[in-house]
């Protein structure tokens, strides 16, 4: 019932998933790269093309289904997570991909966001975070950094933003990854891992809005700065980063800190080794919260913990009841108990 990733891959190419619809995102928008990456990943998953469903909410990112040649559903604002929930529960065989933005997921759809994370359906949730409302032309979102001037915060925002990863972990989510729209290779790799993970895989994509919030992620993605302000986590590997790969992360007391390898007797062996499969969310939460300039932003799969999915639990219950119940059809139900006959 879950997506079984077939090793002998079906022979599909990205042409199988391209749509004949004109892509109407702004030139230079990060969304183009994400679309390209998805077109790379889908043919490799090993399921027939008719088994993909792409579901979205409202916002620039949510136009995505129209640009994919799959079964698709462009929903209403904030509700993609529950639309996807219905699709997956109704037919667990389908590979369900959900596209949403920071406004769609964190503001109007905030309630559904935490519940999909907790329910753990096998859905791949791509959250394009450009920290702004693009489609309505430039209002602040729940992830906009405090103090940012936007059309609805001319003096700068007064609100503390959400960190999506923190929210996923707080909602007892089992999978959280972060990628940047400028790194196609990493994106593709993480999407693949999300597809393989059985459960709700939430991926925050730091996406650039060239029009209303250009360079919002520049510190993390900029050619000059990125090496020192991002770390790509890999399972089982020590946490090393920096242009010269000479920096690392250690746990000191209750805090993560950056150290220089070779300085003060620090060696690679002292560094934290990434374990995304640890059910304890403690370190994952700290990793998700890391931010430059003090700490590098964590990219890659931060948390990936195996757990039963909602659809597995429900369908197992159905199979069990079918075997044990005396009721085999509706006639049995109507006539079972509490009846009397008039002759």
């Amino acid at each position: 019932m879950e997506n079984t990733i077939d090793t002998k891959k079906l022979i599909l190419s990205k042409e199988d998933f391209g749509s004949d619809q004109m892509v109407k995102w702004c030139p230079g928008c990060g969304d183009h790269a994400i679309l390209k990456s998805i077109e790379n990943v889908f043919p490799e998953i090993g399921i027939p093309k008719e088994d993909f469903v792409v579901v979205s909410g409202i916002g620039c990112s949510s136009r995505f289904p129209y640009y994919m040649n799959t079964y698709g559903f462009h929903g209403i604002h904030g509700r993609a997570a529950v639309l996807a929930t219905g699709v997956k529960l109704s037919n667990p065989k389908l590979s369900v991909w959900m596209i949403s933005g920071d406004g769609d997921s964190m503001a109007i759809g905030g309630n559904h966001f935490i519940h999909i994370a907790r329910r753990n359906l096998d859905i791949n949730y791509l959250m394009f975070n450009n920290k702004i409302y693009g489609l309505t032309k430039g209002q602040y979102s729940p992830t906009t950094p405090k103090g940012s001037k936007t059309k609805t915060s001319p003096q700068g925002t007064f609100e503390t933003p959400f960190n999506p990863g923190e929210l996923v972990i707080g909602a007892r989510g089992k999978f959280f990854a972060r990628v940047v729209d400028t790194n196609l290779k990493l994106m593709t790799q993480v999407f693949r891992q999300a597809a393989e993970h059985k459960g709700t895989s939430i991926i925050e994509i730091l996406a650039n809005c060239v029009i209303f919030n250009n360079q919002v992620h520049a510190l993390i993605t900029g050619r000059e700065t990125k090496d020192d302000s991002q770390i790509v986590l890999e399972a089982g590997k020590p946490m090393i980063f920096g242009a010269d790969l000479d920096k690392g992360i250690v746990l000191r007391g209750t805090k993560l800190v950056v150290v220089e390898i070779g300085k003060d007797g620090i060696t690679e062996a002292d560094l934290l080794v990434h374990d995304p499969s640890d059910p304890d969310p403690g370190i994952h939460l700290m990793l998700a919260n890391m931010a430059p300039p003090e700490l590098p932003a964590a990219l890659g799969v931060i948390r990936s913990v195996a757990a039963e999915t909602l659809e597995e639990a429900m369908y197992e219950s159905i199979e069990r009841e079918k075997k044990t119940s005396k009721i085999k059809c509706v006639d049995d139900l109507l006539t079972g108990g509490g009846t009397w006959t008039i002759d």
Binding site: V330, G338, W340
Partner: protein, 616 residues
């Protein structure tokens, strides 16, 4: 069974109301009397009346819980206006129900509870058993607490446990009054309290003691008997509207071959439908208790896209929250059944009281031109057929259907002749076969104007749906002016054409009479009873009662002509009458509206009609 056979009076029908504190077990007492009534072969209908608080302050009027049963040798359509017999387990329940009994009603009270403290809690200045309040009534003062204690004295129960059986003493008295056999109820005790034989014995002893108390004290001048009703041969059961709704959906699932997906959020008085459906995993029900009303309907829309019989159940405030999503189902032309068990509004309103509150909301409560099929169930039993038909219309016409029931019929029960699922009309959803070269997302059936259902996972039918306007046939996003007008008209016309697939409207009575009563939905039983009584009195009155509202049956205009006066009776301020004025403006519609959280009474409907007849 009685020693007073010479004083048995035969009745055509009777109404009994059991009332007590909300912890006194009155609902159980009522349902056991219902079982006994079924066993006696009577037709019957019941209605529970309980406070919205789970345990309101003990002994107060607001904490009174009641259960009314109307049973007869004749056809019974309602749970009855006023009770002929009131069982009042404390002063508060007597006070709360004095307006709901006939002038000559027999009142059975637990006299042990009429203490100064309890009288004060109930708000009595003096003891109604002594001060003349009950003049005209036969009052049976039974020291139920004391007698219950005595009845179980040999079982060594603590007093608190013993007193829990008090309600069975009252039931015993009523069984005696109506010449009922109490033995079948023993079987219920044996099953219900299987784990605790002492409790079984206690209940048996107390029920028997109540029965013989009735026999011994000679308080009753007569006992009563209601002969079996002339019901058609067949298998029967008692059913509430909510249960019938759930079962109707299950039957539709079986006949359509589409498993049920229910996305719902608990809300009074609709919750029992969710509770019932979620039990039936063996019938492949997928039930999601959603995080809110919106998640309930939107998950169902996702499941509809994927090929399930999609359902969401709610009440008025929940329907408000679902409005935007209903629009999504309208524009994507996906089938979904939305069940609104109406309650008093606006806002939180009167959660446990019934009202025909949401017709406007069902018809008009969305942005844009967003027509849906609207229908209303007539009675507890009709909830089964209405839920089945709503599913059939949604699946075959690819459209949302709003089915309105209400708190009265949802919680009320009546006798249900069990149909065979195979005898129901078939349901054939327009599912597209794999690789159909002719498939286009918005290509339509030329008769129904419905599009076809292409399910994800099917080869060769990939397509995109969504809330943005689509071009006709191909289904690509389109903001073309002419296309939008065409699509709006097509969606409206599709719903209008449902009129060709539903039964024609009928009149009960004559094609021409002085007054035509018009009503819709859950008031059917009381309207019919009023009509029957008026016609038996020789009055020139007819009734037409609507189940299908959007669209109206094709012959509605024709039906309404031929009457000197038309009066539209509703439990609201006139929602259906205004809809009729809009749809069929050429008639002069009078209206009769009541909006008190209470059902119509037969007597007040008759008064209204008589007033109209006198004015002719």
């Amino acid at each position: 069974m009685t020693s007073k056979k010479d004083r048995v009076v035969e009745l055509k029908k009777a109404v009994i109301r059991f009332a007590g504190d909300s912890g006194d077990g009155m609902q159980l007492t009522g349902s056991l009397f219902s079982d006994s009534t079924a066993f006696a072969g009577n037709d019957f209908a019941t209605f529970p009346d309980y406070p919205s608080e789970i345990r309101a302050p003990q002994g107060t009027v607001s904490g009174v819980s009641g259960f009314q049963i109307h049973f007869g040798k004749v056809d019974i359509h309602t749970s009855g206006d006023l009770a002929d017999v009131l069982v009042a387990m404390n002063p508060a329940s007597l006070k709360a129900n004095m307006n709901w009994i006939t002038r000559e009603a027999i009142i059975i009270v637990d006299s042990d509870t009429f203490t100064d403290k309890n009288l004060e809690k109930a708000g009595y200045k003096s003891d109604p058993l002594e001060d003349g309040t009950l003049t005209g009534h036969v009052v049976v003062k039974a020291p139920i607490g004391t007698m219950t204690k005595e009845a179980v004295s040999s079982l060594n129960l603590d007093n608190k446990t013993a007193q829990k059986s008090k309600n069975m003493f009252a039931l015993g008295i009523v069984f005696y009054m109506f010449n009922r056999d109490y033995k079948p109820t023993f079987k219920f005790f044996e099953q219900k309290f299987k784990a605790n034989p002492l409790i079984v014995e206690a209940n048996k002893a107390v029920l028997t003691a109540g029965y013989y108390f009735g026999d011994t004290i000679e308080a009753f001048a007569n006992t009563y008997k209601v002969e079996p009703a002339d019901l058609a041969k067949g298998l029967y059961r008692n059913v509430t509207g909510n249960l019938a709704t759930a079962w109707g959906l299950l039957a539709a699932s079986e006949r359509s071959g589409r498993k049920i997906f229910l996305g719902s959020y608990p809300i009074t008085p609709a919750t029992e439908i969710l509770q019932e459906l979620t039990k039936h995993k063996e019938l492949s029900v997928i039930a999601l208790q959603a995080e809110d009303e919106i998640a309930g309907i939107v998950s169902s829309i996702g499941a509809s896209f994927t090929g399930s019989l999609a359902v969401t159940t709610t009440s008025g405030p929940g329907l408000s929250l679902k409005s935007e999503a209903i629009g999504l189902a309208v524009i994507t032309e996906l089938p979904i059944v939305i069940i609104d068990v109406q309650r008093g509004g606006p806002s939180t309103g009167l959660p446990t009281k019934s009202e025909q509150s949401d017709l406007y909301q069902a018809l008009f409560g969305r942005n844009g031109e967003a027509p849906v099929i609207v229908m209303a169930a007539l009675s507890p039993v009709d909830c089964f057929y209405a839920a089945y038909e709503a599913s059939k219309l949604a699946l075959e016409h690819m459209t949302p259907v709003i089915l309105l029931t209400d708190g009265s019929i949802a919680n009320g029960s009546e006798v249900f002749q069990i149909p065979k699922v195979a005898d129901l009309l078939p349901i054939i959803p327009p599912i597209v076969p794999a690789n159909d070269p002719d498939y286009k997302p918005y290509k339509r059936d030329l008769e129904k104007l419905s599009r076809r259902w292409a399910l994800p996972g099917t080869p060769g039918l990939r397509h995109r749906l969504g809330g943005l306007e689509k071009d006709n046939v191909f289904g690509n996003v389109s903001s073309d002016p002419k296309n939008h007008q065409l699509m709006c008209e097509l969606r409206q016309e599709k719903v209008n054409r449902v009129a060709n697939y539903i039964p024609e409207q009928e009149v009960i009575g004559d094609d021409h009479s002085d007054v035509l009563m018009v009503s819709w939905g859950g008031t059917y039983g009381v309207m019919l009873t009023a009509l029957e009584e008026l016609r038996n009195e020789g009055k020139s009155v007819s009734l037409t009662h609507f189940k299908y509202i959007m669209p109206l049956p094709r012959n509605t205009r024709e039906i309404l002509s031929g009457y000197k006066k038309i009066v539209v009776c509703e439990i609201n301020l006139g929602q259906f009458v205004n809809y009729l004025r809009m749809q069929i403006p050429e008639f002069n519609y009078l209206q009769y509206n009541k909006i008190q959280g209470l059902p119509f009474m037969v007597a007040e409907l008759k008064d209204k009609v008589n007033e109209l007849l006198n004015d002719l």
